[in-house]
Symmetry: C2
Subunit: 215 residues, 2 copies
C-alpha cells in the first residue's frame, strides 16, 4: 500500500513566510514600476532577492500570483461608515478612498489593472469582486440610508449614484493625478451630495443673476 499517511512537511521542508512576504512586496513594487503587461516573474524574484523557483513553488503562473496578492491587499480597506448624515458618510468615504489612492503603489497599480481587466477576463472577474462589488455595496448602503433619512429622493438609482460618488475622485487621483486638499474634498462632498439630490447645505449663492432671490 502506498496510501499510508505521509509525514507532514516540517522543519526546513516548510515554506518560509519571510520569503513569501518578500515576494509579495516585490510584486507590488514591480507591478507599480513596469505594469502588469511587462511584469516578469524573473524580475519579481530578482527584486525579492529570491530564486524563481521560490515563486513558482507558491504560485503557478503570473496571473495567479497577481490575482491572489492583489485580492488580498484590497480586502478590508473600506470602513464601515455610518455617520448619521449623507455628507458625513461621503466625507468619510472620500477620506478613505483618498488615503488609499495616495499610496503610490495603489495609485499606479489600480489603474493599470483596471486597464488590463478590459482584455483579461480573469483579472476582470477578480477586480469586480474585490473592487466593484465592494463599491456597489458600500455605495448602495450609503444611498439607502440617505433615502431612509429623507436626505435623498426615494427613486435614487444606486448604480448611477456610485458613478457620481467614485468617478470624480478616481479621476482626479488616479488619472489627472492632481493634488487634493481638504478644501477640495469638502467641495466635492457638497457637490456630490447636491448632485445626488440632497438639499444644499446653505442657500445657494448666485452669480450675477440670482433667480432664487425672486421668491
Amino acid at each position: 500500500m502506498t496510501t499510508e499517511k505521509r509525514r507532514a512537511p516540517a522543519g526546513a521542508a516548510v515554506l518560509r513566510g519571510e520569503i513569501t512576504t518578500a515576494i509579495r512586496r516585490a510584486l507590488m513594487q514591480e507591478l507599480a514600476e513596469v505594469g502588469y503587461g511587462r511584469l516578469s516573474i524573473e524580475a519579481v524574484a530578482r527584486r525579492a532577492g529570491v530564486s524563481k523557483t521560490a515563486v513558482y513553488r507558491r504560485w503557478s503562473s503570473k496571473v495567479e500570483l497577481v490575482l491572489e496578492i492583489v485580492a488580498a491587499a484590497a480586502h478590508g480597506k473600506l470602513p464601515v461608515l455610518d455617520t448619521g448624515t449623507l455628507r458625513g458618510d461621503l466625507a468619510l468615504l472620500f477620506q478613505a478612498v483618498a488615503h488609499a489612492l495616495r499610496h503610490p503603489l495603489a495609485s499606479q497599480i489600480i489603474p493599470d489593472l483596471l486597464a488590463e481587466a478590459a482584455r483579461n477576463p480573469a483579472i476582470d472577474e477578480t477586480l469586480r469582486q474585490v473592487l466593484h462589488a465592494r463599491q456597489q455595496e458600500v455605495g448602495g448602503r450609503l444611498v439607502t440610508r440617505a433615502v431612509q433619512r429623507g436626505e435623498l429622493p426615494a427613486d435614487t438609482d444606486p448604480d448611477a449614484a456610485v458613478d457620481l460618488i467614485i468617478g470624480p475622485l478616481y479621476w482626479r487621483l488616479a488619472i489627472a493625478r492632481a493634488p487634493i486638499t481638504d478644501t477640495y474634498l469638502g467641495t466635492l462632498v457638497e457637490s456630490v451630495a447636491t448632485g445626488l439630490g440632497a438639499e444644499p447645505a446653505v442657500p445657494r449663492p448666485r452669480g450675477a443673476v440670482a433667480p432664487s432671490a425672486h421668491a
Copy 2:
C-alpha cells in the same frame, strides 16, 4: 564640393502612404489587444503585413510611434459646444464623450495609456496636451459661460468642475464598463448640473421623510 543639392527622393524612393496607414491601423489594434506594455514593433509589423524596417524607417522608437499616432487620433474630436444652457452643454459633451468611448479601440487604449502615463513622462506629457488640456479648456469654457448666465455660482472652481463632469462618465464607460442609456445620460446631466450648483430643474421630490414638504 559635396554640398551640391541632392536629388529629391522620387519614384519608388518615397514612402508609400498605404503602408503608413496600414501601420497606423495595426498599431491601434495591437495597442487595444495587448496594451502598451506588451506592445512589440514586430507584432505591429506582422499585423500590418509589413516588414519591421518599414516601421523603423518611419518612427525610431516604440514611444515615438505610439505618441505620434495617438496624438493625431485624439485631435479634433470635441465639438464646439454652446447650446445656451448649462444642461444643454453638458448633454452635448456627454454625448460626444460617450460616443468616443464607445469605440472599442478607444475604450481599451485610453485607460491603458493613462495608466502607462503614471510611469512614462513622455506619454504623460503628450496625454496632458491632447486630453487633459483639452478637457480643462472645454470644461472651463462651459463653466465660465454658465457662470455668466447665472446658472452657476460665481466662485465655481473650474478645476473641480471638470472632475465632477468627466469623472462619473469616464468611470462608468472605461472602468466599470457598464452600459449607458439615454436615460442614464439624462440623469447624469441633472446630477452634475445640480452638483455644480445649478438650481434643480424640478422641485426636489423627497423620500419617506420629507422635511421640506412639511410646510
